[in-house]
């Protein structure tokens, strides 16, 4: 049986130890492998032998020893290849005893996040590397979460490290000037990890490699390091407020339940309270960004007693603000829904017609799905059936397709 307390401890320590080893040795790629080996060793030894008094020092010690072994075999290889080579063991190969105090730079976790979410990496590489290097997950766990073979995930991670090496991304904090843009990619990667977990899970059952929880955990770590960054707080609040609805958003067979039909008593009050408090505190300070706006919208939904009770007026103005700063047609789509809730489906439908001219979203199944809903509300049931079907034919998500087919079938059967 997996020991969750050890697992959590290991995941918390993973980036701190990796930061210390990388700073000492300089080679991120080898350090990352060594720390991963140390984590695996700890995961098998600690449940039997007990958690050592200085777990961080233990992991550091084991990882450094792996690095030394690696260097020794490297030196031996060079000796074989070249008799005159006089390589000596580098000074970092001196390994302190496991009880020695290990100074950890808190910012290392941040530096690691900036490194793993670097825009030079492809999205899937950044996600995989972040989960392993910062999240402390094993390759097998990440592979399982993304339903790909372990060898493929291992290769993806090693390619990501290769890209870091060849792009000469340094293990250091980005300059003030660069930081905002780089922070944008960190938040985006965490958001993608959350979303991947949220859209592929159902019910309350927690998976060992639950990506949503892992994303929330990492966002909490980041928020802990950067208390005053409003967008980090916004992202964390958005995740909490979205995750709060998890138990209600799917039925027994994993079928999607739309917001207006969800059993709100299943929503997680504790998460709603934490998320709402966080976003209202952050919002009050000004300096509003897109994650904060999305979190504020989620908070309005989460604290409403029903769809009718929801403050659509406020949601509409938040979407208008979001539209101004983000230029994303999906935002405009959501704004049309809010406008329809407030002023009737015809108003929403008119706004959707304008989106038909936007090549970024024209023909997208979501446009049809929303149009189907609004047509249904306006009483044009045949039009709604047609749109539900056409959306169902184009989505690549099984639960969404099943939901859309069911909607069309029910209207057709009336």
């Amino acid at each position: 049986m997996a020991d969750f307390s050890i697992e959590h401890l290991l995941r918390d320590l993973a980036p701190q130890v990796l930061g210390a080893v990388t700073r000492r040795h300089g080679d991120f790629a080898s350090a990352e492998d060594a720390v991963q080996e140390a984590l695996i060793a700890a995961a098998s030894q600690w449940p039997v032998e007990g958690i050592p008094d200085n777990p961080k020092g233990w992991l550091y010690h084991v990882a450094m020893r792996r690095m030394t072994d690696q260097l020794r075999s490297e030196v031996a290889r060079r000796h074989r290849e070249d008799a005159v080579a006089s390589e000596v063991i580098a000074d970092w190969a001196f390994v302190p005893p496991p009880d020695a105090d290990l100074s950890v730079d808190e910012d290392d976790t941040l530096v690691l996040l900036f490194m793993c979410c670097h825009p030079a990496l492809s999205q899937s590489s950044a996600i995989a590397l972040t989960l392993r290097a910062v999240g402390g997950l094993t390759t097998a766990e990440i592979a399982k979460a993304f339903l790909v073979p372990e060898a493929t995930m291992a290769q993806r991670i090693s390619r990501a490290k290769q890209s870091i090496k060849s792009s000469k991304i340094p293990f250091s904090m980005p300059s003030e000037k660069e930081r905002d843009a780089r922070m944008g990619s960190v938040l985006h990667v965490l958001y993608l990890i959350f979303n991947e977990g949220y859209t592929t899970s159902f019910g309350t059952e927690l998976n060992r490699t639950d990506l949503s929880n892992e994303a929330i955990r990492l966002a909490r770590v980041l928020h802990g390091l950067l208390r005053t960054d409003p967008e980090v707080a916004g992202l964390l609040a958005l995740m909490l407020l979205t995750d709060a609805r998890r138990a209600a958003r799917t039925g027994e067979l994993g079928e999607l339940i739309p917001l207006d039909e969800q059993d709100r008593s299943l929503w997680n009050d504790q998460l709603i309270e934490e998320g709402s408090e966080l976003i209202s505190q952050t919002f009050a300070k000004g300096n509003i960004g897109s994650y904060q706006l999305q979190a504020a919208i989620a908070a309005i939904h989460d604290t409403a007693k029903s769809t009718e009770d929801t403050n659509w007026n406020q949601i509409l103005s938040l979407y208008s603000m979001l539209e101004q700063i983000s230029d994303n047609p999906v935002v405009s789509l959501n704004r049309a829904i809010a406008a329809a809730m407030l002023n009737g489906p015809e108003v929403g439908l008119e706004m959707l017609d304008a989106l038909d001219k936007d090549p970024r979203i024209a023909g997208h199944y979501r446009l049809d799905a929303v149009r189907a809903h609004l047509l249904e509300r306006s009483g044009d049931l045949d039009g709604a059936i047609q749109r539900y079907r056409s959306a169902a034919e184009r989505t690549s998500s099984t639960p969404e397709r099943n939901y859309l087919i069911t909607k069309a079938a029910r209207l057709n059967d009336r």
Partner: protein, 130 residues
């Protein structure tokens, strides 16, 4: 996002009559496919790939409406093309899936000439975890 790349080849005609190729042509073709798979593995995009046995022994099975044993239909000489094999890849964009399909399509045939095999590219539906 995952895609399935399906290699649908015309049946038993001209260049696709792989059993009548020269040993060198056959080897070049197999090597090409092996290298393609290796490249996908190294790129961290490989999910799965299989080649299917020749359609000569293919059967169509249908359950019986009356609850008896299922009916098995024999080989179908009239069908014009068949699925020779498939890949499943996990890539960042549809464009990358098309790029891989384009490579596979150019697998060498007799004399090393690219076969230009039609490859059907379909996105794999996302499924909730069990």
């Amino acid at each position: 996002m995952k895609f399935m790349l399906m290699m649908n080849v015309p049946k038993g005609t001209g260049d696709y009559q792989i059993t009548s190729w020269s040993p060198d042509d056959f080897k070049a073709h197999i090597d090409f496919m092996r290298n393609l798979n290796k490249e996908l593995q190294e790129a961290g995009e490989f999910v799965g790939a299989e080649g299917l046995a020749a359609p000569g022994e293919a059967k169509l099975v249908r359950a019986s409406k009356t609850g008896g044993p299922p009916a098995t239909d024999g080989v179908f000489p009239e069908s014009k093309e068949f699925l020779a094999g498939y890949w499943i890849v996990d890539v960042d964009s549809a464009a990358r899936a098309y790029e891989i399909a384009g490579k596979a399509s150019a697998a060498p045939g007799p004399g090393g000439t690219p076969l230009i095999i039609p490859i059907e590219v379909r996105q794999v539906m996302s499924v909730p975890l069990p």
